[in-house]
């Protein structure tokens, strides 16, 4: 049984990592406490946040709760967000974009094998900027990434096959070999 302080700490952690509203019942189950204790903990936290002028606020709707930023900071927050969205593409981002363009639809793992580095952050950047899209597959591959139609349009083409030397580059032997080698290794 967690102490009230420990419960508050765990609640904060859980709300922090969840991008979506969390059901009170689900939290109660994970924390092994009653739903009422969760409600009490959430209320306590929200009071702390207000009293101590913290950067957070908990939004409660029906039986779900979600952590959000303190509305008083909204101006600074939107400054950050618009700065991020409007930022120029880094070289890594352009590389990943080109891989998705010439090799898409492609999994994150494949992009990472081709570049030899982790790409989760860069892929997410491109998603947020609407330059690529992802769709879920039913098999083990997980998400497949491809260039967004909006982006194609903005660079004046209607499909990836209109990219320069698409035929040749999309079937580049080195890339093929690298990907098939890696598949064998991970089996």
């Amino acid at each position: 049984m967690p102490t009230p302080n420990k419960l508050k700490s765990v609640l904060e952690s859980l709300l922090f990592v969840s991008g979506e509203p969390l059901k009170l019942a689900k939290i109660a189950k994970i924390c092994n406490v009653s739903k009422n204790e969760v409600i009490a903990g959430v209320d306590d936290l929200n009071q702390d946040y207000q009293k101590e002028e913290r950067g957070f606020a908990i939004i409660r709707k029906d039986d779900s709760v979600q952590l959000a930023t303190n509305p008083e900071n909204s101006q600074t927050v939107s400054q950050l967000v618009s700065g991020e969205l409007g930022s120029e593409l880094s070289r890594s981002a352009l590389e990943v974009l080109s891989i998705v363009a010439y090799r898409g639809p492609i999994t994150r793992m494949q992009v990472e094998i081709i570049r030899g580095v982790n790409c989760s952050y860069v892929l997410r950047t491109l998603l947020i900027k609407g330059l690529i899209e992802r769709k879920e597959t039913v098999d083990i591959r997980g998400f497949l990434y491809e260039i967004s139609f909006d982006f194609l349009k903005s660079i004046g083409i209607t499909g990836v096959k209109e990219l320069p030397d698409w035929e040749e580059l999309s079937k580049n032997e080195k890339v093929e070999e690298l990907l098939s080698d890696s598949e064998q290794e991970t089996v």
Binding site: L97, T125, G130, F151
Partner: protein, 237 residues
């Protein structure tokens, strides 16, 4: 899957350190000499050392042979460069041990699973189409071509494994020749101008045997040391 394979290929420092620690010894020149035979036996018998690391195994082996030769025959001439290499080897082993100990501690920390979790980038912010300025289809082609040309495919092994054996044998031959010459010099210096041919031949045989012995037999070390001591006494009179 990768990891299982990696475990097999230990580096020369790793091997040397393990041999020294198995006998609960400190990292000193004398103790490196003590495990020289085991080290050489191990790299000779180990087919799983890959080509990329073989050079380093052999390079360390040649230093170890030098250290061993010196411990058996203290009068053998060691160049300042070789002396520096030997000192470096001791230092490197000590440094390597520090990092290995740290890596074990870090491994323990990881096993505790006391993770810190963060949020995804701009989680909860909805995607807004924000096209980059000044990027055209040719930039994409250029970027992709750069990615392709940066790919280094894993090397093919078959031919090189033949080469690997040659390299090892050649290296040992080379070292044997060099040591033989030095043993000769060393004895010549000891005996002054009157060189006893029989003694030199004995020394040669000893040296040859030593080169062989470091690969095959461990126990003969004592016999050699006897021979050596006897020989040196005879000369010093």
């Amino acid at each position: 899957m990768f990891n299982v394979q990696l475990e097999k290929f230990e580096g020369p420092l790793d091997l040397l350190l393990k041999l020294i620690e198995e006998q609960k010894l400190d990292i000193t020149r004398l103790n490196i000499a003590k495990v020289a035979d085991d080290y050489l036996e191990h790299i000779r018998g180990n087919e799983s050392i890959d080509l990329e690391n073989l050079a380093e195994f052999v390079s360390i082996a040649s230093r170890i042979i030098l250290i061993k030769s010196q411990s058996i025959l203290p009068t053998i001439e060691i160049t300042p460069d070789e002396e520096k290499e030997i000192v470096d080897l001791e230092e490197r082993l000590k440094e390597y041990r520090l990092f290995r100990t740290a890596s074990e501690k870090i491994g323990e920390m990881q096993k505790k699973k006391r993770f810190l979790f963060s949020r995804d980038y701009l989680l909860g912010i909805s995607s807004v189409f924000s096209p980059p300025k000044n990027i055209n289809i040719f930039d994409l082609k250029k970027a992709f071509s750069a990615v392709v040309s940066g790919i280094i495919l894993p090397e093919k092994l078959p031919e090189e494994s033949v080469q690997r054996i040659i390299t090892l044998e050649e290296k040992i031959e080379e070292l044997k020749d060099s040591l033989q010459k030095r043993v000769e010099t060393s004895f010549r210096e000891l005996s002054g101008s009157s060189k006893d041919k029989v003694e030199v031949i004995v020394a040669f045989l000893a040296m040859l045997e030593m080169v062989k012995q470091r690969i095959i037999e461990v126990e003969q070390t004592d016999i050699f040391e006897d021979i050596r001591i006897a020989k040196i006494n005879a000369y010093s009179k």
